[in-house]
């Protein structure tokens, strides 16, 4: 049992560090956001493992969920400016 807990902790630590490096190093913004969400999830697992359920709760809610959704929304807003779409344009694109 003790060795299994050790494996668990080492895996969590290793993947946290790796995820943090990947998140900082990647050039693709969408990939960075998804990696950030993953970092939040693994961080929440680590807090749960550290017997801090309330911090894990806050991390999962704010770090992974809310911030992830807001970042995705922001990326969509900055990558494609809202183009005016009249019905005639739409049929042109479809045809």
């Amino acid at each position: 049992m003790n060795s299994l807990l050790w494996i668990l902790d080492i895996t969590l630590c290793g993947s946290l560090i790796w995820l943090a490096c990947q998140t900082l190093a990647t050039a693709d913004l969408f990939k960075a956001i998804v990696l950030f969400i993953m970092l939040g999830l693994v961080m929440a697992l680590a807090w749960a493992r550290l017997d801090a359920p309330d911090i894990a709760l806050a991390e999962a809610a704010i770090g992974a969920g809310l911030t992830g959704a807001l970042l995705l929304s922001t990326l969509a807003a900055i990558t494609k400016p809202p183009a005016p779409r009249t019905p005639s344009e739409k049929t042109e694109v479809d045809a």
């Binding site: 668990l8 990696l35 969920g65």
Partner: protein, 88 residues
């Protein structure tokens, strides 16, 4: 019993790490987002097993929030899916 549960936690964590490969390599945005959703679901399972193995019922709330917030990121992605795919 506790030993079995912890073994299952380790196996699920290994499957999460395998999902990370898809997040890093996945060619399209949907691949990455779906891998993230899968990992959210696996995270719920990991927390539930951990709460049972270490007998900490407080962790059940964390699992609940995990399940809820994974859906929120999924919805945020689907809402902006068109812009994401054409933006790449």
């Amino acid at each position: 019993m506790t030993h079995t549960l912890l073994l299952l936690v380790v196996v699920l964590l290994a499957s999460m790490i395998a999902g990370l490969v898809r997040v890093v390599r996945g060619p399209t945005a949907s691949d990455r987002m779906l891998a993230a959703q899968l990992m959210g679901t696996t995270g719920v399972a990991v927390i539930l097993l951990l709460s049972e193995a270490t007998s900490r019922p407080a962790l059940l709330d964390v699992a609940l929030v995990f399940a809820l917030l994974a859906a929120v990121t999924g919805i945020a992605f689907v809402q902006r899916y068109q812009a994401m795919e054409t933006g790449e």
